[in-house]
């Protein structure tokens, strides 16, 4: 479970090799040893586990100045779950001081965790104003959210090859319903029956990032109860962070003996990112020609599937005329990380600037990525390139 006491031993597996310096986006900008996983873990150990030093505002700053991008965890040879430990530290800090910002808690618990609430959009809008966020930095919410556009079961076209449930994340629901409609259309076109379960809420990743364990538990429980009851071959999501939530975080939200664990196992085993799933299944219909250069931005939350980053490359390579132009570092973070970019604006912009340069260097006119937050945060600055989900690209090639 995401309790610091549970990590007292594993935190000492860190050998201080410092390899986390190579990939930590925050360290690479700040160039401060205290801003890299190795040091964060030492600090968390001293201040919150062994309690040999006081929890100063600087300790909190260091714990919060982390994107939770998971780069350190994915690259740690000692397999220390750095991001879980940092999350657990935030949970503990929040519990100690009641520190979860009440406004944010409101957004997460009342908006993301209870979709379909009347007037959601107006509320979110007024929250944005209270937070004094410029319209440039705040995504425009879709006029009609995805859950009001499509619901129920969408039949497979041609021979039915699979039946999947589609977990629609907040990014797609509130910001990019076009991704949702592409996922449904492309899957159905390829012989997949798509069930869109009613009552789905946020995956809980935003709550966790704020140290709001209860909020994450609450929404995950709602989702698991719904998804576990479905008779489907797989559960797909278009968002890598939602996938990560189910695949690697859900079980850690509850005690090991919690009765929900059995259902979590059942659900998480079936979880796939939609592009990944379709790539495994293979296309039933050849896409039409769509000439142009594209590049692929690998979302950071990709560690939960070995093939989630290969799938878009392979699948889109089957579009006649589509040419993949790789970035120098396709897996480099874009700096958005949920709401991180709002609270650490300057830092996030510096991280993004490298990504933007890399993208422009490829000469691509389309940027594909499975993360809606990356899509938004890159899209704000990319005027000449279109940022889209891989299945959005495929839908266009199919003329859907």
């Amino acid at each position: 479970m995401l309790r610091l006491t549970d990590y007292a031993r594993v935190i000492n597996k860190c050998s201080h090799c410092g390899y986390c310096q190579a990939t930590c986006p925050v360290y690479l900008e700040d160039m401060l040893e205290s801003h890299v996983a190795r040091a964060r873990l030492n600090l968390i150990n001293a201040a919150l586990i062994e309690k040999t030093m006081p929890v100063t505002p600087r300790v909190k700053e260091i714990v919060n100045r982390c994107l939770l991008c998971t780069n350190c965890t994915r690259n740690c040879s000692s397999m220390v779950p750095c991001d879980d430990i940092i999350t657990a530290a935030r949970i503990e800090l929040a519990a100690e001081s009641g520190a979860v910002d009440s406004l944010k808690k409101f957004v997460m618990r009342k908006v993301l965790n209870q979709r379909g609430l009347a007037g959601v959009l107006t509320k979110a809008g007024s929250v944005a104003q209270k937070l004094n966020i410029t319209s440039m930095e705040m995504p425009t919410l879709a006029s009609v959210t995805f859950d009001r556009q499509v619901s129920g079961t969408v039949a497979a076209q041609g021979e039915k090859r699979a039946r999947v449930a589609y977990f629609v994340g907040c990014g797609t629901n509130f910001l990019f319903p076009d991704t949702g409609s592409a996922v449904v259309k492309v899957l159905a076109y390829n012989g997949v029956e798509v069930v869109i379960p009613a009552g789905i809420v946020c995956c809980g990743i935003p709550s966790l990032a704020e140290g709001d364990l209860e909020g994450a538990q609450e929404s995950m429980r709602t989702n698991i109860e719904i998804l576990a009851g479905l008779d489907v071959d797989a559960i797909v999501t278009d968002c890598t962070s939602c996938g990560m939530a189910f695949k690697t975080k859900a079980a850690k939200l509850y005690p090991e003996n919690d009765p929900l664990q059995e259902k979590i196992k059942l659900v998480s085993e079936k979880f796939w990112e939609a592009t990944d799933h379709l790539n495994n299944l293979g296309l039933a219909v050849e896409p039409g020609e769509m000439a142009g250069k594209f590049t692929y931005h690998e979302p950071c939350h990709r560690g939960w599937s070995l093939t989630v980053d290969e799938a878009p490359r392979r699948l889109l390579a089957s579009i006649p005329g589509a040419e993949l132009s790789e970035m120098e570092e396709p897996g480099r973070c874009c700096g958005a990380a949920g709401t991180f970019y709002l609270e650490h604006r300057e830092l996030a912009e510096k991280i993004r600037s490298h990504k933007l340069e890399d993208i422009k260097e490829t000469g691509a006119e389309k940027v594909v990525t499975q993360c809606p937050v990356c899509r938004f945060y890159l899209g704000v600055q990319l005027k000449e390139q279109k940022v889209m989900h891989p299945l959005g690209y495929l839908a266009a090639a199919y003329g859907l």
Binding site: K13, S15, C17, Y19, Q21, A22, S77, S78
Partner: protein, 373 residues
């Protein structure tokens, strides 16, 4: 202080700041068809300044030498704040004492290196990876000695134990059959005909010497997975071990079979688990002390084992450190290799540079200046 200041293709040199991360330097020069061979396995995070200060090596030492072979000049801040420049961009110099190479490997005890000129070479156009599965550690060592004796110079020639391959298989795709006691991981490079020739010589002699298997890896991605796993071997060991102490005893290459036997004997007589893995090609197979658990008792035994290893390594005509340097860890053994006269001379050099003893005090020789041994 982490920038590349200049890459001078006409002179085949580069000028960099001390905080530059090595892998970034590698990527930048290689894009230009140039090559900076030193490759300490922490290259994704280690800095050029640190490499120079510790005279860092790596697998490519067998063919290309170590950091010291590439340093041409530097900017140094002396302990009193004076800034001096030694060497330059020229490839040879015969003017007085060689301060540049005195600073190289000085472990921060003489001054602060802030800027470095290094030599670059042309990037070899071809490279190929060969994996040899051996019948025994002794056979692996004999094959290494024979490869060198026949005049073949691989770019990298690494010895891997069964345990090392087991761990590396987490990153090698497809994994290597892990049922042998010893392996050699080899890369040859150069132009096509050189690579073909070296591959044929090495494959041929491995067969002559009845190794279990020789495999030339054609697939670039597969080959890369081996070398990536090799870079991560040390942290990989830490996934199952509580403590890993990697020694860098280095012997003349003809003595490798003796060294392998010696390490096994020391392990048996001291009751300390000692693995072998690393840069066999330059006589530097790291004897690595492995503890699944730690205890003061085991630490004491390890210290005895390290002493034994180094003493016997010196008897084989070796050195107590091929690439890691002395620091604190090996300071007590310094006199075994250098003798009192050389140590006294070094201390007088230290005194001349740093009379107040403010530069990295306590390193190379124990604090207070006396060796325990």
């Amino acid at each position: 202080m982490n920038q590349i200041l200049e890459i001078d293709q006409r002179n085949m040199t580069a000028t960099v700041e001390a905080g530059l991360v090595l892998s970034r330097f590698h990527r930048t020069v290689e894009k230009m068809g140039l090559f900076y061979p030193p490759d300490p396995q922490s290259m994704s995070v280690c800095t050029l300044g640190g490499n120079v200060a510790t005279r860092a090596g790596g697998p490519r030492g067998v063919k290309y030498g170590t950091t010291g072979n590439y340093v041409l000049g530097m900017e140094i801040v002396l302990p009193d704040g004076t800034v001096i420049n030694s060497g330059g961009k020229f490839v040879k110099q015969s003017v007085g004492y060689d301060i540049t190479h005195l600073m190289t490997g000085s472990e921060g005890t003489l001054g602060v290196i802030t800027r470095i000129n290094v030599r670059l070479i042309a990037l070899p156009p071809e490279h190929r990876t060969i994996v040899v599965t051996c019948e025994s550690p002794e056979q692996a060592a004999e094959i290494v000695a024979e490869i060198i004796a026949r005049g073949t110079v691989p770019a990298m020639l690494e010895y891997l134990s069964q345990g090392a391959v087991g761990l590396m298989n987490n990153m090698i795709s497809p994994p290597l059959a892990g049922d042998a006691d010893a392996y050699l991981l080899i890369e040859v490079d150069g132009n096509r005909s050189q690579v073909d020739y070296d591959t044929a010589v090495i494959s041929g002699l491995c067969k002559e010497m009845k190794s279990r298997d020789v495999r030339v890896i054609e697939d670039e991605r597969e080959a890369a997975s081996y070398w990536r796993a090799r870079s991560n071997l040390y942290p990989l060991m830490l996934t199952i071990m509580e403590r890993v102490i990697s020694e860098d005893l280095t012997v003349p290459r003809s003595m490798l079979p003796e060294m392998v036997r010696m390490v096994q004997e020391v392990s048996a007589s001291t009751g300390v688990g000692i693995g072998l893995g690393g840069h066999a090609g330059d006589g530097n197979i790291h004897p690595t002390i492995l503890h699944f658990q730690t205890s003061p008792e085991l630490d004491e035994k390890s210290q005895v084992a390290i002493g034994e290893l180094l003493k016997k390594g010196l008897e084989l005509g070796g050195t107590i450190s091929g690439e890691h340097g002395i620091g604190i860890h090996k300071s007590e053994f310094l006199a075994w290799e250098l003798g009192e006269v050389q140590i006294e001379l070094m201390k007088r050099i230290k005194q001349a540079f740093d009379p107040l003893n403010i530069m990295n005090p306590g390193k190379i020789w124990p604090e207070g200046g006396e060796c325990r041994c």
